[in-house]
């Protein structure tokens, strides 16, 4: 269990590249340990949400099935695509910061932010349409869960976008210290958590 990132000294640049690609190949905790404690806590909280939705599905199968037909499947599929693609660009950005740090690193993070914004726009469009049609959290249990849990997730997306802005600023530095790399990894880990939680919510609300 080798942790290759142990201090916050600036790594000497070698031809415009990061001199510490070892963290990409050796065993290490990505980012700070603290972010993983947060990830664990959030996973537990959302686990409870997932169980609540599944119990609702089990006990009110007909109501859930009927309510689900009013959701626009394409909005859900498109939102999944936006978050998966955003995560992909952020992962590429982290990879770029370590291996060939340059302008491309922050461009990848910017693309991640763009796809996150597309998710927010699409989700707002979906909610707006539902509310305009008189569908609210008070309509039934399905929509109470739908608005509550996707709303909590949306807050995560907005926080994640703020985190990515910080990550982008750090990635723009001409030289990245080991501490900078840790910050970038921690921010990326949070963004991937947002993506991961949506994958399960999408399946429970749109596909079952």
């Amino acid at each position: 269990m080798t942790d290759s990132i142990t201090d916050n000294r600036r790594a000497p640049p070698v031809g415009g590249r990061m001199a510490t690609p070892d963290c990409a190949t050796q065993k290490h905790v990505p980012g700070e340990v603290g972010i993983w404690l947060f990830v664990a806590g959030d996973l537990l909280v959302f686990s409870a949400f997932f169980v609540v939705i599944a119990l609702g599905y089990r006990e009110q199968t007909e109501l859930f099935a009927q309510s689900r037909t009013t959701l626009d499947m394409w909005v859900g599929v498109l939102n999944t695509f936006f978050l998966l693609t955003g995560s992909w660009f952020v992962a590429k950005g982290v990879e770029s910061c370590r291996q060939a740090h340059g302008a491309a690193s922050s461009r990848y993070i910017s693309l991640g932010i763009l796809f996150g914004l597309l998710f927010v726009a699409n989700k707002s469009f979906e909610w707006g349409l539902k509310i305009a049609n008189g569908v609210t959290p008070k309509t039934n249990d399905f929509f109470m869960y739908f608005f509550s849990f996707t709303g909590i997730h949306l807050v995560h997306v907005l926080v994640g976008l703020g985190v990515l802005l910080v990550v982008r600023n750090v990635s723009r530095r001409p030289e990245l210290s080991k501490k900078d790399i840790r910050t970038i990894e921690s921010g990326a880990t949070f963004w991937h958590l947002v993506d991961l939680l949506w994958i399960v919510l999408f399946s429970l609300f749109y596909l079952l």
């Binding site: 599944a54 991937h192 991961l196 994958i199 399960v200 399946s203 596909l207």
Partner: protein, 95 residues
């Protein structure tokens, strides 16, 4: 030229993970929508949707969150969550 670009693209693990994730999203959609509403076994389709979702979450953790390079306590802790959550939801939704 095109072939070398394609092979370069497919040599990157993050690119492959993204392709698999998008592909499995379409597969999960087909399972949940087409099979369930047009023909087939609802319980099987429901199980397929849930298993596909948790395979996707595992890929996000393993590749994008870089758990493949994490110490075993962290990696296996995440694996345990994925399996436990998938089993619990399968019992509640299919059992």
């Amino acid at each position: 030229m095109t072939r070398s670009v394609e092979s370069g693209f497919l040599r990157n693990a993050n690119n492959i993970a993204w392709i698999v994730l998008v592909g499995s999203t379409l597969f999960g959609w087909w399972l949940g929508y087409t099979v369930k509403n047009v023909q087939g076994d609802i319980r099987l389709a429901t199980a397929g949707v849930l298993v596909t979702a948790f395979v996707k979450t595992w890929i996000v953790g393993f590749q994008f969150m870089e758990l493949k390079q994490a110490p075993s306590w962290l990696r296996h802790g995440f694996d345990a969550w994925v399996i436990a959550m998938c089993v619990v939801l399968l019992i509640l939704c299919v059992g």
